[in-house]
Amino acid sequence: MKTDKKTLLNLLCNYGLLIALLLIIAAASVFSKEFFTVANMLNILRQSTVVGIMAIGVTVVIIAGHIDLSIGSTVSLAGIIAILLINNTGNDWWAMTASVLAGALVGLVNGAIIAGIKGRTCDSFIITFGMQTVVAAVALIYSGGNFLTGRGRGVHSLIGKGYVPILIFLGLAVLLELIMKKTPFGRCVYFMGANPKAAKMSGVSVRRNTALLFVIAGVCASLAAVVMCSRVSAASPTSGKGYELDAIAAVVVGGTSMQGGKGGILRTLLGVVVIGVLGNALNILNITTYPQMFIRGVIIIAAVLLDVLGSKLSSGVVSK
């Protein structure tokens, strides 16, 4: 292998995000002593868990060449269900189970409709957009539009404290990574994303897998909601509004392609961490909210641009 200019550029494109992460950490550590401490690093991870758990769920959907815009509303609904049932029944386990089942149900409806009409990417876009509106409305109706506060004690309140949310996030990431890489289902998902027609002709059960994909995204969204509600011991019927785009942004920053068939859970993990570290570093550097938004948008574009460039360079080379 020659280490010429092209290989170097290739390396930059493949590991650009990791390099960027190290650069951000290095720069922020120079400017602030508080940044590179164990406490702050744990803090970043804990803050990233809600969007992170959503992001790893939607990664699976995106790898299959679909998209799910309804997960933000699912977070709102699942959160409302969790807090309302905890307050009404006093049974945390039952409330959390019901919340996750609600997320699975939303995913199942999404998946059943999209599989039923043999939807392509553009169809899942508009169907899950419709579901986003519907589920948000259900959350508002169910809660009466009210902000709900929890009890702040019991099993549920422990979910969001200390290491627990981080362990849930990382555990889910490892579990989904194993499912995607080591099971026939995972391989079928990559196949469906890379070439849906070929996947169907090879006997992949596209319909069943499609339904399952959206169930995974829905379950992850409701788990994110359980963690979020535990952290603040409250739920609002609009709490997840717009989170779906944050989650999708983390996925694409990580390098999973919107065209499907490429990417992975670990990449999303990296994307989530980069966005979390960046936000924290900008805060520590005293940059106000609005310029932060601008920078975040530019980072999303830059990360994907790097990725597009990288895949152009390595086109023809089979890579995972």
Partner: protein, 314 residues
């Protein structure tokens, strides 16, 4: 005219029949619905977002879409309101529309030249441009009590509200472009089959870029209309649902997101279905949350039915 022709006609214009059935049913249920003032009201309500929907129709025909129009809309609106006192009304309008065009150009370069997926590129600019708009106004709502913009935004031309006139001008212009110009035909070709269009000698990147410029200009124009009507602007709130509701109008009208087909008239019917529905649910005294539920269900049902029927025909 045999049975098959009629069947095909009904299938292709299903949204028109849905609209007629809705109007008939609602006027039966509520006497205030089918009155000139209410119908004008529906048109005024949809005219601002409608201009963006028209541009979105061209974009979807070309196989693209844009998530950033809402942020562009917000930036242009606050720019317009804030510039009026410094440079006068008409230069401020021009500046706002050009600002929209510039945002569109950035999107266009990212998508057509850098070959980024439109979803991601416009997601990025959506966040970035909203940040710019908020930074520009420091997050505060701004207003302007200029009499001229009030007259433009709330006045009438031949007893038709000015905003509705502007909307229909935009509609007719886009219809002409799509139907009677080479530019329009090439948009259909690009959306229908990009590789084939390229082989036929169409400069595909140019058309894909122009689509985003048109979307930006339309967002700027919508921002001017909204600014004139409300004489104020709030960068945090303006156009939050613009991109999705303009896409919904087009898709409910029967234009597929896969590109290559569609027309502004279909989109007009789609926008009217959503506008009439919204108006009717309010007239019938349905609570806001249930309205939202019904609107979401309508999008799902109409789109799913459309896909199923067209799949059966192929």
């Amino acid at each position: 005219m045999n049975k098959k022709t009629i069947e095909r006609y009904v299938l292709h214009n299903m949204v028109l029949f849905i609209l007629l059935a809705m109007v008939a049913a609602i006027s039966f249920l509520n006497a205030n619905f089918l009155t000139p003032s209410n119908l004008i009201n529906i048109l005024v309500e949809m005219s601002t977002y409608g201009v963006v929907s028209i541009a979105m129709t061209a974009a979807i025909i070309c196989g693209e879409f844009d998530l950033s129009v809402g942020s562009t809309f917000a930036l242009c609106a606050v720019l317009f309101i804030s510039l009026i006192d410094h440079v006068g009304v008409f230069p401020a309008m021009l500046a706002a529309i050009l600002c929209g065009g510039l945002c569109g150009l950035v999107n266009g370069i990212l998508v057509a030249k850098a070959e980024m997926p439109a979803f991601v590129a416009t997601l990025g600019t959506m966040v970035a441009v909203r940040g710019l708009a908020l930074n520009y106004t420091d997050g505060k709502p701004i207003s302007n009590s200029n009499q001229l913009i009030y007259n433009i935004g709330n006045g009438y031309f031949l007893r038709i509200p000015n905003l509705v006139v502007m909307f229909f001008i935009a509609l007719v212009v886009m219809h002409y472009i799509l139907r009677y110009t080479t530019f329009g035909r090439n948009l259909y070709a690009t959306g229908g089959n990009r590789d084939m269009a390229e082989l036929a000698g169409i400069r595909v990147p140019f058309y894909r870029m122009m689509i985003f410029v048109i979307l930006g200009l339309a967002s700027g124009m919508a921002a001017v209309m909204s600014g004139c009507r409300m004489a104020s602007g709030n960068a945090a709130l303006l156009g939050l649902d613009l991109s999705m509701s303009s896409i919904a109008g087009v898709v409910v009208g029967g234009t597929s997101l896969s590109g290559g087909s569609g027309s502004v008239w279909k989109s007009l019917a789609g926008m009217l279905v959503i506008g009439v529905l919204f108006n009717a649910l309010t007239l019938l005294g349905i609570q806001a949350y249930y309205q939202q539920l019904i609107r979401g269900l309508v999008v799902i049902v109409v789109v799913a039915a459309d896909i199923l029927m067209n799949a059966g025909k192929e």
